[in-house]
Symmetry: C2
Subunit: 350 residues, 2 copies
DNA sequence: TGTTAGCACTCGGTGCGCAAGAGTGCTAAC
DNA sequence: GTTAGCACTCTTGCGCACCGAGTGCTAACA
């Protein structure tokens, strides 16, 4: 049995109906739709077929039909139409993500917020991974007699710094020398490359006189490099889930919030997804998220670095609307970060 | 009518019973307690008095008594005993907040996490306010032909940096001069003082030749100063609220999460609280939080700067246990940040 | 042969009444 | 001042009947 035109039409009607109402869809309801001109009985026959084919299920005998994961997949791939974004939303996105002197972190956080507001879902965004960013220069700066700040500037303008507790006394000249030698040795290399390099070696060959500082500096340096690889995760709209009937059950809400607030694991999920506009539904996700749908898309920074942004919610999601908004936001982010090239900001050290 | 010894004892029993069970406490239950040797009838009379005095309420005629906000206040002030922390928890706190080369931000975030784990409540922590931190030096660093990184280092080791988009061409010498002049002019001044100062003036009097850069630099400089005043808020344990019967009602859970995830407002609440170990209960809080209790305590950085950490939960809270844990954690934080003085870290700029 | 009307059947949800249980307040006795 | 006893109140849980939505099947229709 294959999917006739009519079956597709019915399936589409069921999915989109269920998406808006979250109630199992019955044959009578369907037959009342203007775009479907069939009697309930005919529809029942078709639905029965669709169920046999794995597109629909039945919560219990006397309930209507509910789409299966397979149906959502089909819907997303073939049946849904991507919706237009209301002009005022477009305007708001453009305005609020505009290029006006914002920092990358801030803008990305903002984008996540905007996204959750416009979709009424839980949104998230991660900042780009810097593993392939190249070092521009390295600087050691004095703070007090036992503390030095290490600052690493990437070619893309990203500045990372951290404090180093010195176990041996140092002079400003020492710091200048270290800065020079390390910049000379490492400039132009990618962070990921540097991580595999033997930094201590540099002290032995090029800064023999500063061997005493190597013990304090090298571990901190490595740690800072690792820190540069961290992607930040922003989330927003947690409380939106309470609008959804599927989370009226407190236990479900709890599970959802637990998996989603587990920053490390969730970041992992996001980082490891495929590139581009990705929609994963139900069992296409990991066990924890098997009742959810995730939509993500990428934004670019400087046309190269890639960050990611999206939403998570029930499978019953307005895929058309949501994907449109996500795409619009990521496109705008890319535009913002393209013109204003180096726009992120360093934070705080102590 | 005043509070006899016996009334206090009964009140204490009611409060602590209600805190553990969350069920209204009846006279019979109370009379069974080994520490109360009175008949249910006697207890009923006392309870009736206590109700008249405003310490107890009645959900309905045939239910037991529930403590009022006034009762919680009395309990916290006079009746509760502060509990010991299990040795293993102490050990864990010491280990996980230990001085081992962590950044301030990270450690504070960690502390919040620890706190929520140990109390099963929603925890939060804010980083110190830097308004009185003094400038150590100011540095402008080249990134590319139109981008410069501004870096401000405080005496306490805090580094803040941000990218500046230059509207006019610059040379490295320009940057060096700016760095020197501004450091000379502003070193030792507090951030809050600097915010009121006319920076543009500095260009006119001391860097006439660099007037063309002033337009790009001054606004960014001011923005960066403002950024230095931001306190970061970390929260953890959102999903803990689902363990509490008071949030079995989805609407209540929603309200709670909404107020608590409103970062800006909630940060405000925290920043504006009184210093030291603070417990606010029910209507002592703002309208939004009138069903909650907040406990906060301060930690010190360098013995001066003050950050804050605490929990929020239902008024029915194990005050003794929770305050002990909070105090233990803040004490440990203060110790960590005292020894390791400058330990925060700068983040990223682009 | 495909479509439709009709009908028996299923099953979750709602409302109602009833009994049980917990707790109170009051009175009277100790 | 304390306590036992009792009538009263109110919530909670349970069983039960009923309703309605929806199905599947059969038989008739075009």
């Amino acid at each position: 049995m294959d999917l006739s035109e009519r079956k597709l039409k019915i399936l589409q009607a069921i999915v989109s109906d269920f998406i808006t109402t979250s109630e199992p869809v019955g044959s009578r309801t369907l037959s009342k739709r203007p775009d479907i001109d069939l009697s309930p009985a005919t529809i029942r026959n078709e639905m029965s077929d669709l169920e046999e084919m794995g597109y629909l299920t039945h919560p219990h005998t006397s309930a209507g039909r509910v789409p299966s994961d397979k149906a959502y997949r089909l819907y997303v791939d073939q049946l849904m139409k991507s919706d237009d974004i209301p002009a005022e939303n477009k305007k708001e996105i453009v305005e609020r993500l505009g290029s006006d002197a914002q920092e990358l972190d801030e803008t990305v956080e903002h984008a996540a917020k905007l996204l959750s507001e416009m979709t009424n879902l839980v949104s998230f965004a991660i900042t780009p991974n810097r593993s392939e960013s190249k070092i521009n220069y390295i600087n050691f700066l004095p703070v007090d007699e036992s503390t030095v700040v290490l600052m690493i500037v990437c070619e893309d303008g990203k500045v990372t710094n951290s404090a180093i507790k010195m176990n041996a006394p140092y002079t400003e000249d020492n710091l200048t020398l270290m800065s020079k030698v390390m910049t000379h040795n490492f400039k132009g290399k990618a962070v990921s490359t540097l991580l595999t390099e033997n930094i201590a070696q540099t002290f032995e060959t090029d800064m023999k006189s500063l061997q005493s500082l190597s013990g304090s500096v090298v571990p901190s340096f490595m740690k800072t490099l690792e820190k540069m690889l961290n992607v930040d995760l922003y989330m927003d709209g947690y409380s939106n889930i309470f609008r959804l009937p599927e989370y009226n059950d407190v236990a479900k809400a709890k599970n959802f919030l637990e998996t989603v607030t587990n920053k490390d694991e969730f970041t992992n999920v996001l980082v490891n997804r495929d590139k581009g506009l990705m929609i994963t539904i139900g069992d296409e996700n990991s066990e924890d998220l098997k009742d959810c749908a995730l939509i993500t898309a990428d934004y670019k920074v400087n046309g190269k670095l890639v960050g990611r942004l999206g939403v998570i919610g029930p499978k019953r999601m307005k895929y058309g609307e949501v994907t449109s908004v996500i795409k619009y936001i990521t496109d705008n982010l890319s535009k913002t970060f393209e013109i204003e090239a180096p726009k992120e900001d360093a934070d705080n050290n102590e």
